[in-house]
């Protein structure tokens, strides 16, 4: 059942020996140790496991490994780190935009894709883009504010460049 599948994650190539039907999320977490993407439902209903595949927001929990082969995958770890934070990560820390934080990595991935396609979203557009991401602690408004702040920072960075 196992075969080797080539996966590109956060700019690195990996050869994964696994059942091709294995959910991408399991491979990211278990085979690659990228535990920032979280399992929330396994049903593509909550957004906690969202990753970018060729720039599109995809729930990794019900995406089979075979379908991600050869595509560019970006996870929360690939969005930015402590040394090179994504403007969204900086803004989320500034705004303390989390409570438990379990949903946050998926939200950051969704937000990153939004800002790529729409650098100046209004509040309603941000909320609508996040309707597939559930948060139970009630950090929603801080999250929206942080995304607005990041969008502004990215626009002024873009203008300066």
């Amino acid at each position: 059942m196992s075969e080797s599948i080539r996966l590109s994650v956060n700019g690195k190539e990996h050869d994964i020996a696994a059942d091709p039907d294995t959910p991408l999320l399991h491979v990211l977490r278990q085979n690659l140790g990228l535990t920032g993407s979280h399992l929330g439902c396994g049903l593509n209903q909550c957004g906690a496991c969202n990753v970018l595949i060729d720039g599109h927001v995809i729930a990794a929990c019900d995406t089979p490994l075979w379908s991600a082969a050869g595509k560019q995958i970006v996870t929360i770890e690939g969005l930015g780190g402590r040394g090179n934070p994504h403007p969204l990560q900086t803004a989320f820390i500034d705004e303390q935009a989390a409570q438990c934080g379990y949903c946050i990595s998926g939200i950051l991935v969704t937000a990153a894709a939004l800002l790529k396609s729409n650098p100046d979203p209004d509040e309603a557009e941000i909320r609508s883009a996040l309707d597939g991401n559930l948060c139970r602690c009630g950090a929603h408004n801080r999250i929206v504010q942080a995304i607005q702040k990041a969008a502004k920072a990215m626009r002024s960075e873009g203008a300066a460049a």
Partner: protein, 713 residues
């Protein structure tokens, strides 16, 4: 009474009473840091940051020098359960006291070493300095023996005016790791466990196994073991994928006998009022000197079963070495869990070590304890190997303990002038507590399904004096001359219930505040003024006045399809004061647009952390009030995922505006559960203000509101 002026002997504050040894709370390390060891746990509420601030303040060290130790039964103080918004009160007061005393002990030590009086020394970030460049430090003096003694009840703490760290919005310790996707959750830190476990729940709570067939499951590559013990079935595999696959096959291949034991979801109030119950008057006030009643207003309310519905899944890991069990858990009470695990396995509690790791948002007694038993049961089949068990979304929503359905009746007797002369509040509900570690039998889910099944516990309630359960906040805050509160605790529990944030308070305050609005309307009075007229407590009045002012209550504009409502409660009748004003909008759908909240939690340790908790609690309440109900038929819980148990989405979340009334010289009170009741009441009242109808059954769905409007026509 003649000796009333003699003050009582001083006692140790909070959790220090039961855990007086200073060294159990903190120690200084020669390499330049303080290890702080609270027994309360981080459950997404930011508590560890607040506790760190309190310690840093009293010790005079930079917050970064405080290293938090994760609670473990191997050595941490036993602070019971992290629940009831009590951590600041219990743990915060203990840590403030222990830190102040540790500081005094080290200062005395420094004075001796330097040959000066302690009062000429000052401490700056752990460096202890005196005249003539005399200097030492906590780190130089570090010696665990110095704190190997019990706390003294009398110790000087910093006056409130001198505090700089405590009372500031220090950023939370745990947030950066979560934002960068670094492993902090138990799910992530235990991912590298050798083995992965899953459980096959029966199709319904009282189902029994009819035919067990594991032939196909056994053939799954990577499968390590199938565990069957009575009606309990689990698998262990080398990967999560294999474990899931084996469970899927077992689900198809095993058959069960099911029984119709669940109540009628559509006649919940009727069922709650008909089940045998233990009925008690839990609070009352009697005052015969009132005008005779001329009529009684009676209203009946219900609230459905509600799920925790955390975004994270319950997770635990366990490992056996001989008869010694080590468990990693995100539960709220490590010692409580240890006690119940010991009961299940017939071990001495000391044979079990329970170590805390952070989990996803926890809003009460969820499945965290249950999954720990699952991990221990499965790991027993593979001694010496660590097994990580993760629940499914279905287990999370359908099998975690639920917050019980509730029926409430309020009767208000009015005199000739329309004044309230008597008030009777009755509540019918299962108990709100089946927490582990409190009885002779375990309350862990899987213990009920083993071959040697443990008896099912029917949920109880804490006494009202310590916060109550179903009757929490059923005592009216208002100055009625007479009242009586009766709690009917159901003696049958077809749906397993336990504590969810605020316990009975949300439903009770929803009912009380709905009733108060109706009575205000009958009296032709403004709802805010009517409440103020019935409140003597100045801190109660202050939060209502603050919320009303901030929301421009007096000058609010009445527009077609919009409404404003107010709600108030003092949480548990003994903690934070909170008032909420809701603005709703009704057209094709009904939406909460804005919540304005004022809260008085006494001394504020971290204003932003407090605001975050209030805001989160308020938004969660909007979700409960507008959308949530656990669905079931006569046999099965049918809420099993986010489609069958929807919660509030980003586009449905209202603006939340918060005013904190800081009282630095008053006792710090927990606040994470304070907004729930007031917000629920405010929303119901705003809907009535907008549409002229009132819905008495939660959730306040569009269909119910439309039905009420049709009936009113």
């Amino acid at each position: 009474m003649s000796d009333a002026k003699a003050s009582p002997p001083p006692v140790l504050p909070g959790s220090l009473k039961a855990n007086p040894r200073l060294g159990q709370w903190l120690r200084f390390d020669a390499s330049g840091y303080v290890e702080l060891c609270p027994g309360k746990v981080e459950i997404g509420q930011g508590i560890i940051t607040a506790l760190m601030q309190i310690a840093a303040e009293e010790l005079d060290v930079e917050p970064a020098r405080i290293h938090l130790k994760a609670p473990t039964t191997a050595e941490s103080p036993n602070e019971g359960v992290t629940s009831g918004s009590l951590s600041i009160q219990d743990s915060g007061s203990a840590i403030r006291h222990a830190s102040a005393q540790a500081r005094a002990i080290y200062l005395a030590q420094a004075a001796e070493k330097l040959g000066v009086d302690a009062d000429v020394l000052r401490i700056e970030d752990g460096a202890i300095r005196g005249p003539d460049n005399l200097a030492t430090s906590y780190w130089e003096l570090a010696d665990d023996a110095l704190l190997d003694r019990d706390a003294d009840p009398q110790v000087a703490k910093k006056p409130s005016g001198a505090r700089t760290v405590s009372g500031s919005s220090l950023r939370r310790l745990d947030i950066p790791e979560k934002i960068f996707g670094e492993p902090r959750f138990i799910h992530d830190r235990m991912q590298a466990s050798v083995l992965h476990g899953r459980v096959l729940r029966p199709p319904s709570p009282s189902a029994t196994l009819k035919n067990f067939d594991d032939a196909r499951a056994k053939a799954v590559p990577g499968l390590v073991a199938i565990v069957r013990d009575g009606n309990y079935i689990g698998v262990i595999a080398e990967s999560e994928f294999a474990a899931n696959k084996a469970i899927d096959r077992l689900r198809w291949d095993c058959t069960w006998d099911e029984k119709a034991t669940l109540p009628d979801e559509y006649n919940l109030g009727q069922w709650l009022r008909s089940v045998p119950a233990d009925s008690n008057v839990v609070a009352s006030r009697e005052n015969k000197d009132v005008a005779p009643k001329v009529r009684t207003v009676r209203r009946d309310f219900t609230r459905p079963f509600v799920a925790h519905a955390s975004i994270g899944l319950c997770c635990s890991a366990a490992e056996w070495q001989g008869d010694a069990l080590h468990v990693w858990t995100h539960c709220q009470g490590i010692y409580n869990l240890r006690a119940d695990l010991a009961l299940v396995f017939g071990l001495e509690p000391e044979a079990v070590v329970v170590e805390h790791m952070e989990g996803a948002g926890c809003y009460g007694h969820n499945g965290a304890d249950d999954v720990a038993l699952d991990a221990a049961l499965l790991a027993r089949a593979v001694p010496g190997k660590r097994v990580r068990v993760l629940w499914s979304r279905e287990e999370e929503i359908a099998w975690s303990p639920h917050s019980p359905g509730m029926a409430i009746t309020i009767e208000a007797d009015l005199d000739e002038k329309g004044e309230i002369v008597d008030w009777r509040h009755q509540v019918w509900s299962n108990g709100h507590a089946t927490r582990p570690g409190r009885g002779d039998n375990p309350t862990l889910l899987s213990a009920y399904y083993l071959e040697k099944a443990f008896p099912r516990i029917v949920a109880g309630n804490m006494p009202l004096q310590t916060g109550g359960g179903a009757d929490r906040n059923a005592v009216p805050a208002y100055n009625f001359p007479n009242f009586a509160v009766t709690n009917h605790r159901l003696l049958e529990m077809p749906i397993r219930t336990s504590a969810l944030r605020s316990l009975g308070a949300t439903a009770n305050v929803f009912a009380i505040e709905s009733m108060m609005d109706e009575l205000a309307k009958e009296a032709g009075e403004d709802p805010v003024a009517f409440r103020l007229r019935h409140l003597d407590d100045p801190r109660a009045r202050a939060v209502i006045e603050a919320a009303a002012k901030r929301a421009n209550w007096a000058s609010r504009q009445k527009r077609e399809g919009t409404g404003y409502g107010v709600g108030y409660a003092k949480y548990k009748n003994l903690a934070s004061w909170c008032a909420a004003i809701a603005e709703i909008e009704a057209d094709e759908e009904i939406r909460v647009r804005r919540l304005t909240i004022a809260v008085d939690a006494g001394e504020v340790i971290n204003p932003d952390g407090l605001a975050n908790q209030i805001e989160g609690g308020a938004i969660q309440t909007v979700s409960w009030v507008m959308k949530e109900a656990v669905r079931f038929d006569d046999t099965r819980i049918t809420s099993v995922d986010w489609e069958t148990y929807p919660i509030l989405k980003f586009s449905e979340v209202p603006a939340v505006d918060i005013e904190i009334i800081n009282r630095p010289d008053e006792r710090a009170l927990g606040a994470g559960e304070a907004p729930h009741g007031p917000v629920a009441g405010a929303i119901a009242n705003a809907i009535h203000d907008a549409l002229g109808v009132r819905v008495y059954d939660l959730p306040l769905t569009f269909d119910r509101i439309v039905k009420a409007m049709q009936e009113a026509d």
